[in-house]
Amino acid sequence: MIDRIPILRIRDLLLVSIQADLHDILVEQLQSDILKELERKSARGLVLDISALNILDTYTARAFVHTAQMARLMGTRTIVSGMTPAIAMTLTEMGFSAGGFETALDLESALTALSTHDSDED
């Protein structure tokens, strides 16, 4: 099992592609790594791409909500991209409200959303 998920910085965006089967310590590590990176240098957006995941349980989904909340407090907008239909159906039927984080169909849409937001502001 890997013990860390890399965080890529592309201009003022942070990109995290989650490929590994997530376990709790990995999620906590990722959360603190993201916050440290935001503290080091601010970012306008954070994209968590989960297209490689086929399971997302409520614990991990809640961790994403918390990450998005913390990032927001540090001035960063978070988008979770690439959720599979199977995960979306499972979380919804379980009664998990996905209102806690913004989502996009895929990585490209997430990046488009973050750059559109930028030109709106200008």
Partner: protein
Amino acid sequence: MLGSRIDSDIPPKLVAALEANVSVPPKLRQEIMSLSLQNREQIENLAASIVRHISLFAGTENILPILTKLDQATNGVLSLVPRDDKMRVDNEASLVLARRSAITLAAKLGFGPVERTKVATAVSELARNIVMYAKAGEVRLTVVTNARIGLAIEARDNGPGIPDIDKVLSGGFRSKTGLGMGLRGVKNIAQEFAVQSAPGQGTRVRAVFYLSMR
């Protein structure tokens, strides 16, 4: 069990063994012939396709006998016959393994991607509750073959137990860590759900998922 040696004879042997029992449409034949033995997800998808095909064209009661023949013909390399599983759960790594086992077993029972995700998510929630609250326990995955084919998950521990289980299940109790959310979630996605728990007496949860042939 996946053998380390790759045998290119496996796909044709599998097609022949399957053809001896049911007709094999071109699409399924293609799926078998393009099989790569290193790709776990591909093997899982194929296992599910085969089970659904047998079920539709030979009947549910013939699934296990035919899968047994397929395993014999391919020296058990693909391990297509679904088997009960029992795992000790006491840390992060065992939680991940329990999820993986659940996905694999669900695939061998013909569950589609959505159902596989549901089963694995349920295992994840129940196993996590064990690790968080009881430190250690056991997760059993059992093949159900009565009128319908299903997968039963049983999670047992001798931990502190849940004082007011009804309140937890009705949503009247919210833990910081999400015990209630997980249990309620499993109850919502499983077709059968039962929980036994009392303070000092540990917890037993049983959730059953049935194969839908949609």
